[in-house]
């Protein structure tokens, strides 16, 4: 054997009593966030099973199937209300009464994701929406949103912690879970994302920022310069990819691979970030000097607020500036932002 790893056998009864029960429910999903999560290095998936959580239901890897699996969900509602962490991966389709995503059978009838998330979400200690689909709708709610998909927050009247990414970086999800289990709720931003991971733009953290500042731009994918002109959404995207990087040993990230960031964590992904290889709109209005990172902060917010990007310049100087600042502080603002977001998705139905 070349590598000696993970050889300590798993033993029952090793979990500490403080390890909370965990349900990871797959709704309308590709399974990419669960697969990405398996790429977590330290702590890894085994650490989660052994030390961190009592993993009752993990849709992707669990042994149970059929009624045996669905019964676990029912048991959580009756025996452990208010104790378990609910992780939801995927959108919640509403079309045909939710039948566009069925998670199992109950009493011979299909149990829809919509029903399951409403029931389980109401009685969970924490609800975590993992991946951009669960958090904001993502690719599966993209135009024309064929399944009438909504993000988790839109079907639950309670706080949902959003951990977006397409897929989620393993660290963002593991970090959020560890935070919840060991330290309680992490500090969240206006989109209910943990600030720990989504507090700064890609552009400001980028190793190639000096190329941007010195106008050294790549003309095609595969070149080692700034990717702004071939579509990089870094100025518009709040995530720590450049520092953290991806997978296991944290080896690379899209710009290091000489390709543009496509803004996969963003609330407006993918519709607001496409075409992926065309650059962000230039903001050139009289009397407004806009640098790329300000464009970013504003376009991100503006899209969510339903205001066209072309207004970003006037927000900066105009009478909307005050309202804009307010929206981004205080707990009432958070709710308003999310409501707005929800409205945006509801309109697509």
């Amino acid at each position: 054997m070349p590598i000696r790893i993970g050889t300590e056998p798993l033993r029952p009864g090793k979990l500490s009593r403080s390890a909370p029960p965990l349900i990871w429910l797959g709704t309308n999903t590709c399974g990419g966030d669960a697969v990405s999560f398996l790429n977590s290095l330290d702590p890894g998936y085994l650490d989660l099973l052994r030390d961190l959580a009592d993993c009752r239901y993990l849709y992707l890897t669990m042994t149970a199937e059929g009624d045996m699996a669905t019964r676990i969900l029912d048991e959580m509602l009756t025996t452990l209300p208010g104790k378990y962490i609910l992780v939801v991966e995927g959108t919640i389709p509403t079309r045909s009464n939710g039948l566009y995503s069925v998670v199992g059978m109950r009493n011979g009838e299909p149990l829809t994701a919509l029903q399951a998330v409403r029931e389980l979400g109401t009685k969970a200690r924490y609800v975590v929406a993992v991946g951009t689909c669960a958090a904001f709708g993502g690719p599966f709610a993209a135009m024309p949103n064929p399944s009438g998909s909504l993000p988790v927050q839109a079907v639950l009247d309670r706080q949902v912690i959003n951990v977006p990414g397409c897929p989620v970086n393993p660290d963002w999800m593991m970090g959020t879970l560890v935070h919840l289990i060991r330290f309680g709720e992490p500090e969240l931003d206006s989109f209910n994302r943990p600030k720990l991971f989504y507090g700064e733009t890609i552009h400001n953290l980028c190793q190639r920022r000096h190329y941007f500042d010195n106008s050294l731009f790549a003309k095609q994918p595969g070149e080692p310069w700034c990717m702004y002109q071939i579509g990089c959404k870094g100025p518009d995207t709040f995530a720590d990819c450049p520092y953290r990087q991806w997978n296991g040993e944290h080896l690379s990230w899209p710009v290091k691979a000489n390709t543009p960031c496509i803004g996969c964590v963003n609330p407006e992904f993918p519709d607001g970030n496409a075409p992926f290889f065309e650059h962000l709109p230039d903001v050139r209005l009289p009397g407004v000097r806009v640098t790329a990172d300000r464009v970013g902060a504003l376009t991100a917010a503006a899209t969510v607020l339903g205001i066209g990007v072309h207004l970003a310049g006037s927000i900066l100087t105009g009478r909307l500036a005050h309202a804009f600042k307010q929206t981004f502080s205080g707990s009432g603002a958070r709710t308003r932002l999310l409501q707005n977001l929800i409205q945006r998705f509801s309109k697509k139905r």
Binding site: I5, L10, K14, G31, Y45, S101, G222, I262, A274
Partner: protein, 455 residues
């Protein structure tokens, strides 16, 4: 008196699916396979920039995303009439190859093994079936230890994708025109060292483990059987001109080899939740109009057929066509072929690494055509994958996708022919109807990917 069991969700199937079986005298006499969720990628891809498809279509599936990136890249290159540079082809082969290693490792250990091995009394290994397990205590413990190791080794395989594609899943290194990370010696050395670790595990552990399973469950060479009807589009182009592939394209009908003729591919909608019961359509003409209330339908998966015949795809079909493995078509043959294919791909990757030329180009730029059609065909982890694309006024106006699991897990077609998994389930002995462990063994031998199948 026949009885019915509905197994939903079937977990460990890249999101979940559902199977309904009818059992009489201890054997399955009828089966219906259902895809139970729908997202609608063929509609979502419309009106977009054609270049976005190689990234966006990867979002169809979290475990075999590189296969979609490859098919989408091939389709746009076909439409634009361009080829990647030599390095570009090699890099794309390495990225897709690494994703194959990741996927086959995770399927064999994380998804498949719990059907044969009992895990510790700890979530998510419990609850589970309690009967029908045959490994000795020693071998059971050994294979569980390998399960733990496979968690690390499969992560390492995804790190290979990350080195050349920025992240995994949904890597950025697969696009029409080639790839994006120039083969610098430091990256190649890192890649090679990690590949050696993965390859050693495959050769020293995974191969031994499938033999242990096959010895303990020899009757599974006679369960889940089918006539050898296979379809494969070809996997890993030899060079940038794509004149032939390392795993060749081909068709096997009742055991006889034939040349692939893609015009014979059609999709039936009869038992699927899509509007229309018309004539089956070739994917250049196919439609996707979801209708969950369609009477009589039972799946979100369409029913693809080749010359009207029910075809199976996957490692077994590929090795059969390549001439490497032709001993049978059963649960254990499928599992065996998947492990053998993992080893073959790891060996091929070693070769591709040495063929890369540091300093030579990796990407050819091109103009997106205003009006064009293209098709991208590749082998994917579970069998043949095709993307059919039409571009008008520089935007996508038509996109149809036929995935391997659509072939394998398809429902009945208009003439009532069962899909491959449905066929394979018939005759499966069920020892205990309260714990039908045998059903999952048949279904998972196809490595069902629910996310791809419905897309």
């Amino acid at each position: 008196m026949p009885s019915k069991i509905t197994l939903g969700p079937i977990t460990r199937a890249q999101n979940s699916c559902s199977v309904e079986v009818t059992i009489a005298n201890g054997k399955v006499i009828d089966a219906r396979c259902s895809g139970i969720f729908f997202r609608g990628f063929e509609l979502i891809l419309r009106d977009r920039d054609p270049r976005d498809a190689s990234y966006l279509s990867q979002r169809i599936c979290g475990i075999c995303s590189a296969a979609h990136g490859t098919a989408a890249s091939f389709a746009l290159e076909d439409a634009a009439g361009i080829r990647p540079p030599r390095n570009g082809n090699l890099l794309r082969n390495l990225i897709l190859g690494a994703d194959f290693l990741q996927d086959h490792l995770r399927h064999f250990y994380l998804y498949g093994l719990p059907d044969y091995v009992q895990g510790p009394a700890l979530g998510p290994f419990v609850p589970g079936y309690t009967k029908g397990f045959r490994l000795s205590k020693k071998n059971n413990e050994l294979l569980m230890q390998h399960y733990m190791q496979a968690l690390e080794v499969s992560r390492l395989a995804h790190e290979l994708v990350t080195l050349l594609g920025g992240k995994a899943p949904y890597n950025h290194g697969l696009l029409a025109g080639g790839s994006t990370v120039p083969p610098a010696p430091d990256i190649l050395a890192d890649f090679q060292s990690k590949l050696h670790k993965v390859r050693d595990f495959i050769k020293n552990v995974m191969i031994a483990d499938i033999n242990t399973l096959a010895e303990a469950y020899p009757d599974y060479y006679h369960i889940g059987t089918r006539t050898p009807n296979f379809l494969e589009y070809g996997l890993f182009p030899h060079d940038q001109y794509d004149r032939d592939r390392h795993f060749p394209a081909g068709v096997v009908i009742e055991g006889r080899m034939q040349k692939l003729e893609t015009s014979l591919i059609t999709e039936h909608l009869h038992n699927s939740w899509y509007a229309g019961n018309d004539q089956p359509q070739h994917p250049t003409q196919g439609k996707t109009e979801p209708d969950r209330e369609k009477p009589g339908a039972y799946s979100w998966i369409k029913a693809p057929r080749y010359a009207g015949k029910v075809m199976e795809g996957g490692p077994l079909g590929r090795l059969w066509i390549r001439g490497d493995y032709r001993s049978g078509v059963s649960v254990m043959d499928r599992n065996m072929a998947r492990v053998l294919e993992t080893e073959i791909i790891a060996d091929l990757m070693e070769g591709w690494l040495t063929e890369l030329e540091p300093g030579a180009p990796v990407f050819n730029s091109f103009d997106v055509p205003r009006e064009a059609e293209g098709v991208g065909l590749t082998g994917a982890m579970r069998g043949p994958l095709g993307h059919w694309l039409r571009i008008e006024k520089g935007r996508i106006t038509h996109y149809q996708i036929i995935t391997p699991t659509a072939w394998n897990f398809s429902p009945r077609d208009a003439s009532g022919q069962l899909g491959p998994v449905e066929e394979a389930l018939i005759g499966t002995p069920i020892e205990d109807e309260k714990g039908p462990v045998e059903i999952g063994r048949v279904v998972r031998s196809f490595d069902v990917c629910s996310a791809c199948a419905t897309h």
